[in-house]
Structures are given as structure tokens and as C-alpha cells.
């Protein structure tokens, strides 16, 4: 799929082919991860402190990213928001993909009634629009971060399932799976050692895209009242609560939007351009 010219190759000394795009993306993701990790140490203000008498204030010394709709320091809010956006999305996407992929591979390997039942159930789940599902969950059990993570995961399990099942079904027809099967291998080995390594690439790419959707859905859910507790807010919620500043081109709405875009785009480009081990046949 990738046919980047060899000029994009930076270092071959490590035995891995590293792509410039991948490298830049990696640093962006790393940057946000560090921001999330050290948020309390680098934020100039506390997250709920109102430091500006004005609202939607412009960027200026002291308030480097302006102020939000309550006159709070936007820089601090974005820094703390990184914790929630990165943390929650990562947790949710991991749970969703893990569950979906394991179920997908299991269905592909076992076929028959298991496949039928799991496929139908997840199809049914998938047919309920995600935001409405979120709404029902909030109505039923209320809102907290674990509920949030779980809801987001449940919403994206069917997608991951469908995707990985389709891949796994193809792998399952390969003779090496058959060899393992007639060796007497059990399910965990079949899916973990024979199938998973062969679908990992596409699964990771899918995970990247799902990460974007989860970040966005998180902001959509904050719109429905299922979200991070104030005064904290994830980036989507920051955009949402400051959307009134859009007509004034307030940094309060632009900065978190940019933060979302940089993170999601980088995650995807990073996955598309992961370092590849150089396997040089000529060397053999």
C-alpha cells in the first residue's frame, strides 16, 4: 500500500526502515503523551481557576492560548484535556479492539453456531446508532469515567469484530492453520499464535481509525452529558463548551480543535508508517 520513495528513508543502521512522516507523527504523539503525563507540572494555572475577567480572550503573554468562556486559562485546560482525550480514547480503543479482535478470530476459527450467535448479536448491537446508545447508557446508569470508557468500547466492538473476523476467515483457510489444527492445538494457540500475527497490520490500521472515531464520539457524548467531570474536560468537550467563540475566532475553540486534529492525524500516519524491519534477501 505504501509506495513512498526511498528518499523518505532516514536510517537503515538500526536494521529498521524509518519513514520521515512516521518519525514526525511519532514525535507529535509522544509530545501529547508527555503533556498528558506531566500535566500538573507544566500547566501554569489550575484547571478551574478564573484568571481573566474577559471571556474568549485573545492570546497574550501570561495567557498564551487565551481564555475560555469563563475566563479560565486555555493553555492549562488544553494541557489537562490531553490527559482525558489521550487516556480515555486509548483505554476505550484498546478494550474495543481487544474484545472485538479476539471475538472475531474466535468466530472465524470455530465457525458454526458460535460464529452465528456472536455475529448476530454484534450485528444487532451495531445497528443501534452510537450516540443514541450512549444516551441510553447515560439514562440507565449515569455518567462516570469507567462507564464512559466501557460505553465507548462497547460501541466499537462490533466494528472491530466485523473487520477482524473477515481477515481471520481468510487466514483460517491457509494450510498452516490446518496443520496446527490437526496437530491438536486448542483455540487460544490457534488465534493467538497462528492468526493474530498475520492480521496485526490491518488490525492496527483499523485501530488508528477507530481511535479517531472514539475521540470524536467522546466529544459527541459530552454534548449529551456523558463526559469528564468539570472543571476538567477532554478536548472535544473544550471545543463544545467554547463553540460560542467560533464567530470571534477565539483561540478557546480553535486550539482544542487543532489539538484533536494533530493527535488523530499523527496516530494514523504513525500506524501507516511504522518502522519496518529490513529483510534483505540479497544478504542471504
Amino acid at each position: 500500500m505504501k509506495t513512498y520513495s526511498p528518499t523518505g528513508i532516514l536510517a537503515a543502521r538500526s536494521g529498521y526502515r524509518i519513514n520521515l512522516v512516521g518519525l514526525v507523527s511519532f514525535f507529535v504523539v509522544l509530545f501529547w503523551a508527555l503533556v498528558a503525563l506531566f500535566a500538573p507540572y507544566i500547566a501554569p494555572h489550575s484547571v478551574g481557576e478564573m484568571v481573566d475577567l474577559d471571556y474568549f480572550g485573545p492570546m497574550r503573554p501570561g495567557l498564551w492560548l487565551g481564555s475560555d468562556y469563563l475566563g479560565r486559562d486555555m493553555l492549562s485546560r488544553v494541557i489537562f484535556g490531553a490527559r482525558y482525550t489521550v487516556g480515555i480514547s486509548l483505554a476505550a480503543v484498546s478494550i474495543a479492539c481487544f474484545t472485538g479482535v479476539v471475538l472475531g478470530m474466535t468466530s472465524a476459527v470455530l465457525r458454526g453456531p458460535v460464529d452465528m450467535v456472536v455475529s448476530r448479536l454484534l450485528d444487532a448491537l451495531n445497528s443501534i446508532p452510537s450516540k443514541l446508545f450512549g444516551l441510553m447508557v447515560v439514562a440507565a446508569v449515569g455518567s462516570s469515567i469507567p462507564v464512559l470508557i466501557l460505553t465507548l468500547s462497547v460501541i466499537y466492538v462490533p466494528g472491530a469484530y466485523r473487520f477482524s473476523r473477515a481477515l481471520a476467515v481468510n487466514i483460517d483457510t491457509m494450510d498452516f492453520v490446518m496443520v496446527a489444527r490437526i496437530r491438536g492445538e486448542k483455540l487460544p494457540y490457534l488465534i493467538g499464535s497462528e492468526i493474530l500475527p498475520n492480521i496485526l497490520g490491518p488490525v492496527l490500521a483499523d485501530l488508528g481509525l477507530r481511535f479517531v472515531f472514539i475521540v470524536l464520539l467522546l466529544s459527541g457524548l459530552s454534548f449529551l452529558g456523558l463526559g469528564v467531570q468539570p472543571p476538567y474536560a477532554d478536548w472535544g468537550a473544550l471545543v463544545r463548551e467554547n463553540i460560542g467563540g467560533l464567530p470571534f475566532a477565539a483561540p478557546a475553540v480553535i486550539v482544542p480543535s487543532l489539538a484533536i486534529a494533530t493527535l488523530t492525524i499523527s496516530v494514523n500516519l504513525l500506524i501507516d508508517n511504522l518502522p519496518q524491519k529490513i529483510r534483505d534477501r540479497s544478504a542471504s
Binding site: S46, S143, P231, G244, P247, F248
Partner: protein, 535 residues
């Protein structure tokens, strides 16, 4: 206004207005203003504004479009079930009440010609004659009796069943006279009857989807959760509304509502976010209509549960709430500082002598220490459901953080807030709509047996005073009682009312005749029949 020249002031505006009134034509004015050093575009702006101010003669015609902020499939044209502003607006357009409140809060007659009583217990209501319903039927006492008695039937599910319950007997004395007997004396009945739920419907009505009333507009279409359209009632007994038709719907998204106004899709955007005012203010051809009625969002501490059982904690919280900052930051100046009691300055009974508690974190700190709660985490439930409650919580939380008082603000979904958290959590936010009389407020919110006693305030003395005031016809005497009761609430109850929130409606300057009303924004929701549109 940002676009006018610096030297131009409101006084100058009025000078131009006066000139126009005296008969100055455009050329005269141009000469005058150019001489004063103004540029042509600026002059256009000023003239436009002045012309608009001057043309206060109502004009007939036009299709009025307005947007509220909430609507759902639960929208109804049944006045008894009306619960949202949207319902009130529609009811006001299609029906009439016996009385209504003018902008000073004084009850005026609408379908009633007169309301008389000797003892505030038995009331005789004479009806107007010559009033007809949209379907042609004439208004009689039977319609009034039916309309009022409905509230007593539990199957109807009336929102004001509790208030209506005091009407123990409602009967028609003759074709145009109704006699109401109350369980106990209540001098406020004419005001109570001005509530939107007491709209008069035709006798025997079961299907309310037609909106058959005596009001200024005839219902042409009503789609719950979508919109309603009314057309001018040609036989309206008051002499007809100014506009030809009236379309009302809700745009729940704040920004979308303002944008719809700015793009010219609607003439009025009700209850806009204080932060959007800057946007409207900056635009030519639009203005804001501000109404400060009794709407407020309050912080409730239940006195019957931890930590509210500790009086020092409740008092401490009252000193921790920075009322000035709430008005400034959370409300952006669209509100008035409150003094912890529900009777707003819009009411003639407001106790202005009762001063709001000052913001005194040190005092709060010492009180919390005394209560033994300093450093502990106290959950505070808030939600979008109560307007500005989250922002207020932020202000209080930040202040608490300064003195080491950890307030654990928990935002919960607005959906289901009123049934699941309000009145139930130990510390939570509430939001109370304007009510026409102190008596209704007190009996609803502060009497020992009040259904919505938010802080579980119990005082026999207070209950006794309430009954006494209710039966008192002399205004001075009642005012005195109510003043005392307001002080009691502020000092003893666990409800912190930091501010009375202004309702801000944004309108296009083409819309004329809108005036504030103590029953709420949009002229107490009844604006449609009073306003007119200029070209």
C-alpha cells in the same frame, strides 16, 4: 456598539430622534451630521437606529417567526399540562386567561371583566361578553368552570393541581358569572389565575391538538417537537394581533438560535446565552431585550442530611459563594446579585433592605473548621439542566480550593436530573422559574410541607406567617410579613440564591413592541399578540 464613531453617544442618538420627530427630512439630517464630521456609512447607521426608534406606531401584517430553546414530542396545547416555555408561548397565542400580569406585576383583567371578594375566600368572577372561540362557540361560565375543574382531576395530570386544590368549589352562577370558593383565604387568587396553566378552554374539550381557544391566533398547524403555526384570529375580541401569522419552534442549540436570528431566518431568539450577547451586540440591526424576573439557579444544602445538618457548614457556604463573580463570570452581567431568598426585585414584595451575604473566604474557612469539615471532600451535584449551574459550581469550587475546602463537583446529565438528583442529593443545584406571588413561592418551596422544599427547611413560625399573609388583604401588612419571611429564609434555610438571572431575548430591530414582563421572557411568553413587524 462598536461600529459607531467614538465621539457618538446615546445622547446624540436621541438628538437625531428628536430632529426626526420634529419633521426633519433625510437631507436636513445629512447636512447636520456631515457638518458634525461623520462619515456617510456612520450616518446611515445612526439614521437607521433613530428611524427605528421613532416608528412606534403598530403596523399590520407580516409573518412572525420566533424560536424558543426547548421543545420535544411532549409539547402540548393542553394548558393544564404545559410545562415548557414553548407550551406557554403557544397557549398564550391560542387561548386567554381570566387575568394577566402587566409589566409592573399587577394583575389585569383579560377574559374576566371583574373579580370581587369580601373575605378573600369566596370570589365572584364576571366574564366578558361577546367573546367567541375559534370554532365559533361563545364563551360562557361553563367553559371557565370546566377549564378550572380539570386541574382537580388526577387523570388530567395538571402541573398546577397542587395550587388548584385550594379551589374547593367552582360553579357557574349564571351564564357569565363564576363563583370560586377557596379552602382558606387567599388574597392572591387574581394573580394565581394569571398563570399560564389556567388558560380557558371550551367546555368538554378532550382533544387539545386543535388549540381551540379565544386567543389572538387560530392554530393552523401543530407538530409536537417541530413547530406550530397560528394565523390571525379575525374575530379576536381585543381587536386582533398585528401580525398575520405566528410561527414558533425551538432551536435547542444556543449558537444555532443566535445564528438563525443573525441570518434573518427568525425575528426573535429567546433566552440566549449571555456569551452570545457580544455577537448580537456587534451586529447592526439586532438588539437585546433583557428581563429580570424571578428566575434563579440556587445551591441547595439539605438540612436533614450530612453535611447540611451542621449549621456552620451551611453558613460557611453562604460566605463562600462569590455572588459578584457569579453575576460577572457565569452570567456575564445579565443578572442581579441575590440575597438568598426567592422573591426577586421584580416583585413589589422584594425585601431590598436584606443585604446579600458578602464574599468572605476567611470567615467561611473558620466556619468550615468549626464544622469540622475543612479538608474533607464534599460532593456537589450540578447539571446543565439548571441554567448556569455548572459555571456557578466552578466559581464556588475555585473559591473553595483557595481556602482548602475541596468541593467535588459532579456534573450529571440534564436528562433525568429533576427526577433523580434535584431535591435528593445532599448538596445540589436547582433552578426555579418565576412565580407570580411570594405566596406561591413560599408554599411551593419553603413551607414545612412544601412539595419542593429544597433544603427541607421546617419552621412552624414560618408556616403560620404564610397563612396569615395569604389571608391579609391590606398590602402594607402583607409586605411587612413577607419581608420578615424573606429574612428568615436567607438566614435559616439551606438554599443559597446567588443571583436572579436575567432572561435575554435577542430580536431583530424589525420587531417592535416587545416589553419586559415579570412572568418571564418574551413578554411573559405572550409577546405574539402585542408585537408588530416593520418592513
Amino acid at each position: 456598539m462598536t461600529k459607531t464613531p467614538d465621539s457618538w453617544t446615546r445622547t446624540d442618538d436621541s438628538m437625531v430622534e428628536n430632529a426626526i420627530r420634529r419633521g426633519a427630512n433625510r437631507r436636513d439630517l445629512l447636512k447636520m451630521l456631515l457638518a458634525g464630521g461623520m462619515s456617510l456609512p456612520a450616518i446611515d447607521l445612526v439614521l437607521g437606529r433613530a428611524n427605528a426608534a421613532v416608528s412606534d406606531e403598530p403596523v399590520k401584517g407580516g409573518a412572525l417567526k420566533a424560536a424558543g430553546w426547548s421543545s420535544s414530542t411532549a409539547d402540548t396545547l393542553d394548558p393544564a399540562k404545559a410545562s415548557l416555555s414553548t407550551d406557554y408561548v403557544r397557549c398564550c397565542a391560542f387561548y386567554n386567561r381570566l387575568t394577566f400580569l402587566d409589566k409592573a406585576g399587577i394583575p389585569k383583567m383579560e377574559l374576566a371583566k371583574s373579580i370581587d371578594t369580601d373575605d378573600a375566600k369566596t370570589w365572584t368572577i364576571k366574564l366578558r361578553t361577546g367573546v367567541t372561540f375559534h370554532d365559533g362557540k361563545s364563551l360562557t361560565a361553563d367553559d371557565v368552570v370546566f377549564s378550572l375543574k380539570r386541574h382537580l382531576d388526577p387523570a388530567v395530570g395538571s402541573k398546577v393541581a397542587k395550587i388548584a386544590a385550594q379551589m374547593t368549589d367552582i360553579k357557574a352562577a349564571d351564564k357569565s358569572t363564576v363563583v370560586i370558593t377557596l379552602a382558606g383565604a387567599n388574597a392572591d387568587l387574581p394573580t394565581i389565575l394569571s398563570m399560564h396553566h389556567f388558560m380557558i378552554v371550551a367546555d368538554g374539550t378532550t382533544d387539545f391538538s386543535k388549540g381551540n381557544g379565544t386567543g389572538a391566533f387560530i392554530c393552523k398547524s401543530f407538530e409536537p417537537g417541530v413547530r406550530s403555526i397560528g394565523v390571525r384570529n379575525p374575530n379576536y375580541w381585543k381587536g386582533g394581533p398585528h401580525v398575520d401569522s405566528f410561527e414558533f419552534f425551538a432551536i435547542s442549540d444556543d449558537n444555532a438560535r443566535v445564528n438563525a436570528l443573525l441570518s434573518g431566518d427568525i425575528h426573535l431568539a429567546a433566552a440566549i446565552n449571555p456569551r452570545s450577547t457580544r455577537l448580537v451586540d456587534g451586529q447592526q440591526g439586532f438588539s437585546l431585550s433583557k428581563t429580570t424576573s424571578g428566575n434563579y439557579t440556587n445551591l441547595n444544602i439539605r438540612l436533614d442530611m450530612e453535611p447540611g445538618t451542621r449549621k456552620d457548614f451551611v453558613d460557611g457556604m453562604k460566605y463562600l459563594v462569590n455572588r459578584e463573580q457569579i453575576v460577572k463570570s457565569a452570567l456575564r452581567g445579565f443578572g442581579e446579585v441575590g440575597n438568598d431568598q426567592p422573591v426577586s426585585p421584580a416583585s413589589p414584595f422584594h425585601n431590598a433592605a436584606l443585604k446579600p451575604k458578602p464574599f468572605d473566604p476567611e470567615k467561611a474557612k473558620s466556619l468550615f473548621k468549626k464544622a469540622g469539615l475543612l479538608g474533607q471532600s464534599i460532593p456537589v451535584i450540578t447539571s446543565d439542566a439548571a441554567s448556569s449551574a455548572i459555571d456557578m459550581a466552578m466559581v464556588v469550587q475555585a473559591a473553595g480550593a483557595e481556602i482548602g475546602m475541596k468541593l467535588d463537583v459532579q456534573r450529571v446529565p440534564s436528562d433525568g436530573y429533576w427526577s433523580n438528583y434535584w431535591l435528593k442529593a445532599p448538596v445540589h443545584f436547582g433552578n426555579i422559574n418565576p412565580r407570580p406571588t411570594p405566596d406561591i413561592l413560599f408554599s411551593l418551596l419553603y413551607a414545612s410541607e412544601a412539595p419542593w422544599n429544597e433544603s427541607r427547611y421546617k419552621s412552624e413560625k414560618f408556616d403560620k406567617m404564610m397563612l396569615e399573609a395569604r389571608a391579609t388583604l391590606a398590602w402594607e401588612k402583607r409586605k411587612e410579613l413577607y419581608d420578615q419571611m424573606q429574612v428568615m429564609i436567607a438566614e435559616e434555610a439551606g438554599t443559597i440564591i446567588p443571583a436572579y438571572i436575567s432572561n435575554v431575548d435577542a430580536i431583530t430591530n424589525k420587531l417592535k413592541g416587545l416589553a419586559p414582563n415579570p412572568l418571564g421572557g418574551m413578554m411573559g411568553y405572550a409577546f405574539a399578540e402585542y408585537v408588530w413587524l416593520t418592513a
